[in-house]
Structures are given as C-alpha cells and as structure tokens.
C-alpha cells in the first residue's frame, strides 16, 4: 500500500501542573491519513483531539511516539528539513481573526505564504483569493482582516494555506465560528480543493453531522484514546462503541424541511 501522507504512531502526551496529578491528554494513539483522504477526528472538549492535532502539526512535542509525514519521521529532521517538510502540511484554525496578523493586509498575508520568484505576487494572490470565493481577488488585496466578514476571513485563511500547495490540511474546528448559512460555502470550497488538488484533510471537530457528511473516515476520541474508527457514514450512523452511541444520540435531530426546492 502507498505510504500515507501522515502517520501518527503510538503518540502519548501528558500535561503536568504543580499540585495536580498529571493529565494524560493523549494515550498511545495511532492514526493514519492516506493521500487525498479526509479523516475526521471527533470528540468532546478534553478528549485530546486538539492536542493530537497540535502534535501532528509539530506545534507540540509528544512524550513518546512518532509523527511520520510523507515517510519522514519529523523528530529526526534537521531544523531546515523540518521547515521544508512542514510546508506539505498546513493548518486552518477555528478563529481566523486570531491566526491572521491584524496589521497585515491580504496582500501581505498572501505574500508571506507564496513561494518567491514565481511571477507577480499580486497576480498569484489575486488568483488564490478568486479561487476561495473572494472575488474579484484584486479588490481584496488591500483589505485587512478586520475589514472583511468572519466567513471571508476563514476563506482568506484557506487561500493562505493553499498558497503553500499543501498535501495535507489539518483543520481544527474550522467551522465553529461560522454561521449556519455560510458553513456550506466553506465545506463546498474544501471539497472542491480536494478534487482539484488531491489534498488530504484531517478535520478536528466536535460536530457529528459535519464529520458524518464531510469525512471518508472518522476516529472518535474519548479521554485521550481513540475508541472507535471506521467509515464516517457507518460509524456515525450506526455506532458500535457505547461512547460513540451516546455522542450521536445527544445531537438534537432536526427533520429535513419539506418544500425546500427553491434552493438547488
């Protein structure tokens, strides 16, 4: 089988606070993301899903275990090799307003991410902004993050991630801040990008219905351990682990409305 884009092998991480017992945030977890695959990591707060995401991104060192990106063990790389390797893996966070420097315009934010000496920065930046639905992209170049809406900021963050031409995007709750009516816009954009570029996603989310419909595969985390994994539609429709069952049952069900044909 082809080497997966990301392999997390036996990852453990605990946090210590003076006067408290150590918290085992991630306990011997292994997870793979195949090339072009979409994996959702779901769980409640404190399950360790964000810690695992941060370890995958190399933002946090595990106590034990290995992060293998495109066959390369991250820990064994030199600083410059690590920088190079990490370009293949880009993050998108929940809150684009805190992950985008507020004092930089869209042009500057994009220029930082674009590879040098590949034609006009403005042209490339505008093309990517067009791609994520900030069109015409040219008109957005001079804008600052606070001058655009929350949904547009998240799209700017996606355009910035795309500038690196990543093979894997790790998205931590990318839709928690987005209104319901525009959530679909962002999800459709992520689907299109996957189709065009063969990007793989590791999406960390607490939202069961998004995980069910967006991901190919899902891993359910509880108290630092993956308790169930498998095809997203199957696991989140007929779960077998008691915790997954509880999680799925707790989501309030909304019946599909009738006569909704005015929208495509």
């Amino acid at each position: 089988m082809a080497e997966p884009i990301l392999r997390l092998e036996n990852i453990s991480k605990s946090f210590r606070r003076p006067g408290h017992a150590p918290v085992q945030a991630v306990d011997n977890v292994s997870l793979e993301v195949g090339r072009g695959e979409t994996v959702a990591l779901v769980g409640e707060s404190g399950s360790g899903k964000s810690t695992l995401g941060r370890i995958a991104l190399g933002l946090l060192a595990p106590d034990s275990g290995r992060v293998v990106l495109e066959g390369k063990v991250l820990r064994e790389l030199s600083a410059s090799e690590l920088r190079q390797a990490r370009i293949a893996m880009q993050p998108i966070f929940q809150d684009a307003s805190s992950s985008l420097n507020p004092r930089r315009s869209a042009r500057e934010l994009m220029a930082q991410a674009l590879p040098e000496a590949k034609g006009s920065v403005d042209e490339q930046a505008a093309r990517l902004l067009d791609r994520v639905g900030l069109s015409p992209g040219r008109d957005y170049l001079a804008r600052f993050p606070h001058e655009i809406s929350g949904g547009q900021r998240q799209r700017l963050a996606i355009a910035r991630a795309l500038a690196m031409n990543p093979k894997l995007i790790i998205a931590d709750e990318p839709l928690s801040g987005a209104d319901v009516s525009i959530r679909g816009q962002v999800l459709n954009l992520l689907l299109d990008i996957k189709e065009e570029r063969g990007v793989a996603y590791l999406m960390i989310t607490h939202d069961i219905s998004i995980a069910r419909h967006f991901a190919d595969r899902v891993a359910v985390m509880q108290r630092g351990v993956i308790v169930e994994t498998g095809p997203a539609a199957q696991v989140l429709t007929s779960p077998s682990h008691p915790y997954t069952r509880e999680l799925v049952a707790a989501v309030p069900v909304l019946a599909a409305p009738e006569a909704a044909s005015i929208y495509r």
């Binding site: 959530r183 689907l191 309030p252 409305p257 006569a259 005015i262």
Partner: protein, 319 residues
C-alpha cells in the same frame, strides 16, 4: 391574561462613532404565560439584543429605543429607568447566559450566591433550606454550595447559574445560548433539566440560540430573526417542518449539513448584511432565490404563509 412578555413593533438602534446600526427593526414577539418560545438567528440577527432588552440591559449610552413598546406582564417597561428595571430583574424575568463563569461571582461560594438571590426575592423564607432545595432542583450535589465557580465543570456552572435564577422565582426565564459552550452530552443534560424545570415550575421560557436543533427540541413556538427583523414565526412543527420564508428554508437546509445528489453541502450564497447599511427593503433580498422587484422597495407586513403551515411571515413571495 396578559402575556408575560411582549415586543410590539420595536425598533432599537445602536449609535457609536457616527454610525447607526438597527439591531432590532420592527420586531414583534409574544411569550405567553408558561409558554416555551424559541428565537433563532445567526450572528448579527439581533437575537442577543432582544434578550438583553427583556431585562433592560442594552447599554443606555449607545442604545435607543426609537419606536415600539416592550411589555412585561402587561406593564409598559419601554421607558423604564435603571431603578425601575432593577425591580423587574430576577422576578418576574431572570436570565441565564452562554458563559456562566462571567455572570457568577468568582470569589463567592456558589451557595452564598444562591442565598443572595433567595434573600432578595423571598425574604420570608428559611434561606438555608431554600438553597438546599434549589441545588437539588438543578441536580447539583449539596456540597456544590461550598465550591467556588472555577472549581465546577462547565455543565455544573450552568446548573449553578440556573439555581441563582430560580432563586428569584421568575415567571419567565430568558436563556441566551445556554448550552453553546458545552459538550453535546452535557448540553443534552442541561436541556432536559430546563424542560423539567419548566414543567415543574410552570415558568415561561424564551430560548435564544443559533442551533436550530436545540430550539426545535425545547420550544412550542419559534421566531426566526434575520438582520434585526422577525421574518417568520409560528408553531415549531409548522416553521421547522414546512418553512415558508426563503431564509428559514435555506437555514434549515444548511443546518442538516447533508450533501445533495451532486455531493454539495446546502448553503445560502453571500454574507449576512451590515446592519449599518440597511436599505428600506427586505434585508434578505441580496441572498434570496425568490427575490423580486418589490423586495428592494419595502418590507411587507406580516401575513399567513401560502402552501405551508399556519405560521406568519414577512415575505413578498407569500403575499
């Protein structure tokens, strides 16, 4: 009997640094005694402003009620002074918020905070006994009385805030996104608790949320807000099963988070409008699949839905 809460064609503007934003535009809403009413809307729809206005909590320095009335139990409170409002807060109207930690006193034990609210509203009662009762009512262990808010989990804090609110014996509980910060399993517990409390105490509920599923599971009637307007309202079954306003239809489809036959997620194109740049027409026009010429001109008066349930809406396509 007069409804416990009534907004009558209310228009409320925020003014700051030379800009005006109409957070509530001709909003009419009624909550009957003991009724559970849901208010749904996205960010910037005005739903939290409405919640605050039910307690006179919109900031006086920048918020002005330009027209319309607010009535609580039949009393016109629209022009109430701060002192007059103070007498309404807690009883008859109490409120719980999304982040209990910022509404509970961080340096006071939970039991003492509940006791304060009991003393303020029912001075004759044996306070200590009542605190124990309230804790058991919200299903907190008696030991929680000795805890400080930061020592409790998120779900327990929301229960503690509920106990403080219930200590006032409110006739109406306004809950603004009470479970948004909680995990789904804890959320389900808090919603079950609110439902149970409502039945036991006969209290009315105004539940405000961006989450349609939560409101559908907890409320008899629903109002949908968009850009400061109530655009559709009626029985939950009518509004959610057979929505009529194009915004409600799109919102419900998007909330399913399901993919259509082409594998696409449902969505409404465009972004919510800027409340300081509103035109006289329907604010949903730029995003509406059924927009027509008159939509740009004015907002229609409320009318019954055509080919849907028994709800009311403001939409030219249904005139």
């Amino acid at each position: 009997m007069a409804p416990i809460l009534e907004f009558d064609a209310l228009r409320l503007a925020y003014r700051a640094r030379g800009t005006v934003a109409y957070a509530m535009n001709d909003v009419s809403l009624v909550v009957g005694e003991g009724e559970a009413v849901g208010l749904v809307g996205e960010s910037g729809s005005g739903k939290s402003t409405l919640a605050r206005a039910t307690l006179g909590l919109t900031p006086r320095r920048i918020a002005t009620i330009e027209s319309g009335r607010i009535l609580i139990g039949g009393t016109d409170v629209t022009r109430f002074s701060e002192d007059q409002w103070q007498a309404m807060r807690g009883n008859p109207v109490a409120m719980v918020f999304q982040d209990p930690l910022s509404y509970l006193n961080p340096v006071m034990r939970v039991g003492k905070q509940i006791a304060e609210s009991v003393r303020a509203h029912a001075p004759g009662l044996a306070v200590a006994t009542r605190v124990v009762e309230l804790l058991s009512l919200v299903k907190l262990p008696a030991a929680a009385a000795d805890a400080y808010p930061h020592e409790l989990s998120g779900g327990m804090r929301q229960r503690a805030l509920l106990a403080v609110a219930l200590g006032c014996e409110p006739k109406l509980l306004v809950a603004d996104e009470p479970t948004t910060a909680l995990d789904v399993t804890t959320q389900a517990e808090i919603l079950a608790l609110i439902r149970e409390l409502r039945e036991r105490l006969g209290m009315a509920l105004l539940l405000i949320s961006h989450d349609l599923g939560i409101v559908a599971s907890a409320c008899d009637r629903i109002y949908v807000m968009y850009a400061g307007h109530t655009v559709e309202w009626g029985a939950t079954a009518d509004v959610f099963q057979r929505p009529a306003h194009p915004y409600t239809v799109g919102l419900l489809k998007a909330a399913q988070a399901a993919r259509n036959s082409e594998g696409r997620f449902a969505t409404i194109s465009g972004d919510p409008p800027n409340l300081s740049e509103l035109s006289p027409g329907c604010p949903f026009t730029p995003r509406c699949p059924q927009a027509r010429a008159e939509c740009r001109e004015s907002m229609p008066a409320p009318s019954p839905a055509r080919n849907a349930g028994a709800q009311t809406l403001r939409c030219w396509a249904h005139r």
